[in-house]
Amino acid sequence: MADNGPLIRVEELVKSFGSNVVLRGINLSVESGEVVTIIGASGSGKSTLLRCINLLEIPDSGHVWFHGEDLVEPKTNVDALRENIGMVFQQFNLFANMNVLDNCTLAPVLLKKMGKEEAKKVAISHLESVGLSDFIYANVNSLSGGQKQRVAIARALCMNPEIMLFDEPTSALDPEIVGEVLNVMRRLAEEGMTMVVVTHEMAFARDVCDRVVFMDSGVILEQGTPAQLFQNPRETRTREFLSRYLDPED
């Protein structure tokens, strides 16, 4: 839809697990083409917020607007909207009973009513773009962590989504192979994909994204351009958090 509003608008989102309130009224909008990074300490609610955006977690209250439809509303066809929201998980979650190609073609064939051959062509082009064209018939269990995550990205891209959510995509990887996944994400950002990334990779946040959101104990404490947030944070809590990540490098 070509309306001028933000692609995703999260409004007063509240989520708790039992008595533990994880999100305490989150407001966030993501414009089309924007790359937003969510940072914050473990347990601050970053991942939960991301999972609420495509309703893998069901919020207690609040709204998630996507294309003028509220995903939280029980009547909304969430499955149909999810086709446009790609998600990449920390643990890759590749389908263990399929090879790389079938991982990528399953959803397009089932949901986009694509022919097998066409879906295969699309999948191969995406697998090429993440540098895995030699592995299309490989079993997913035979891949390294970095390769798995790149397959997961290709799998999400095969649905041609309007927005990609990344839930700590490099946290389960060896430091040496984090780069190969970040490079793919960097190129995606350059191509204009709308992205929301939960990460601990501060260099990625600083160099690639348009806006950094800092979360602390269930609220968005501060947000702004990387330059603002990293060089001149307003809040003491932000400064504390960033010093732990940035000082050793500088």
Binding site: R82, F89, N93, F95, D134, Y137, N139, M159
Partner: protein, 391 residues
């Protein structure tokens, strides 16, 4: 696969090494065989015995065994007497060690020949004698051989029934169990309206109730209820007793009983397998836009079945054994054949042991076959492994 081959290789290597190399257990190991040879020589030769007709050879073999035992005894005494300096005695001289290895083969041959002559040919003689006998021999083995040989058709029918009940029962039950397990594990999705939610609850509740009742009652009781219940239903539908016996035959009833019983257990096995699948798999499928049902069919269920393969083959083995309780209904399985034959001859013990042996052989073979099958199914992933680079 490669690992297993390697494993087998080293195991075979160990056996070969024990048989071929010089080692410290040559005396002891061969002495056990030689003792068996001596024991066999003490038995009276049977009608089939070859050595019994050639007494010189018989005595020679016996002598070889005795000689081996004597040499071993001397070596043992030497070892006990010179415990600390045994390595320097005659028994450890390389020529002696090598000679003892070669001598051990001679002793083996003697002992094995004696064993074949007395035990194996003796058993054959006993069986052939018993089968040709005009009345039931009083000995245990003879009686068993006589009664089994007189009732071979019954045993054939019983074994066939037992195996086909287990095989067909398990396969049919698997399909019912798949349906039931889908009913059992379904959860209301957010988009479901109240009616769908209600249906799902009813389905899940039904599957739970079914599993609880079937797994909580003995198969024998279920068998009696289903058999007589089925009989009653057909009678009430207006069929005569003989017609009912034709439609609701013992075999059909037995198959229904095994299926009904097995469905509950297989359902639980499948449920365990499905619940063991990482929840991230379903999440990833849902995040792509797949519905709950699609995620189950294409992603979770195939992995769940693979997880359940060991439990499923176990269920097949259980069915081979458990179908024995169906003999109370009148299903002509192996147990029914056994009790029938036992009734004819008024001899129980021998035939029960024979039945146990036959069950053991069937389950042993079935276990092997199922292991091979499940390895094949489980190894499907591995065989796909070599990446198939397209140009």
């Amino acid at each position: 696969m490669a690992e297993q081959h390697g494993d087998q290789g080293t195991r075979r290597g160990k056996v070969a090494s024990f048989l071929l190399d010089d080692h410290r257990y040559v005396f002891l190991g061969t002495s056990v065989l030689a003792l068996i040879g001596v024991w066999m020589h003490g038995k009276t030769p049977s009608a089939f015995s070859v050595l019994g007709k050639v007494p010189i050879l018989d005595t020679l073999l016996f002598g070889i065994c005795c000689a081996w035992l004597a040499v071993s005894a001397v070596a043992l005494i030497t070892k006990l007497a010179r415990w600390n300096s045994y390595q320097t005695t005659w028994a450890k001289r390389p020529q002696v060690v090598h000679a003892s290895r070669i001598g051990s083969y001679v002793a083996w041959a003697a002992a094995i020949l004696l064993f074949i002559d007395r035990a194996i040919l003796g058993f054959c003689a006993l069986v052939s004698e018993a089968t040709a006998a005009s009345s039931n021999p009083q000995t245990f083995l003879g009686g068993a051989a006589y009664m089994v040989s007189q009732s071979l058709p019954m045993y054939a029918q019983g074994i066939t029934t037992t195996i086909s009940l287990a095989v067909f029962g398990t396969i049919i039950a698997f399909f019912f169990a798949v349906v039931l397990v889908f009913l059992r594990i379904q959860e209301p999705d957010r988009s479901d309206n109240d009616f769908v939610r209600f249906l799902k609850k009813v389905g899940s509740g039904f599957a739970f109730l079914y599993s609880t009742i079937i797994r909580g009652t003995p198969m024998m009781v279920q068998g009696l209820i289903i058999y007589s219940g089925g009989f009653m239903i057909f009678r009430n539908m207006g069929y005569s007793v003989s017609e009912t016996r034709q439609i609701w035959s013992y075999f059909v009833a037995g198959l229904v009983i095994v299926t009904v019983n097995s469905t509950a257990y297989i359902m639980e096995a499948l449920r365990g397998g499905i619940e063991a699948v990482d929840p991230g798999q379903a999440e990833a499928a849902r995040s792509l836009g797949l519905s709950q049902w699609m995620a189950m069919m294409h992603v979770v269920f195939p992995q769940g079945v693979r997880n359940a393969i060991p439990a499923l083959s176990n269920e097949m083995i259980m069915n081979i054994k458990d179908s024995s309780v169906l003999s109370v209904v009148g299903v002509f399985d192996l147990m029914f054949a056994t009790t029938t034959v036992a009734g004819i001859y008024y001899r129980q013990m021998e035939l029960y042991v024979v039945a146990a042996l036959i069950y053991l052989i069937i389950t042993f073979i079935a276990t092997r076959l199922l292991n091979m099958l499940s390895k094949k199914l489980g190894a499907q992933e591995v065989s796909e492994l070599p990446a198939n680079p397209t140009e």
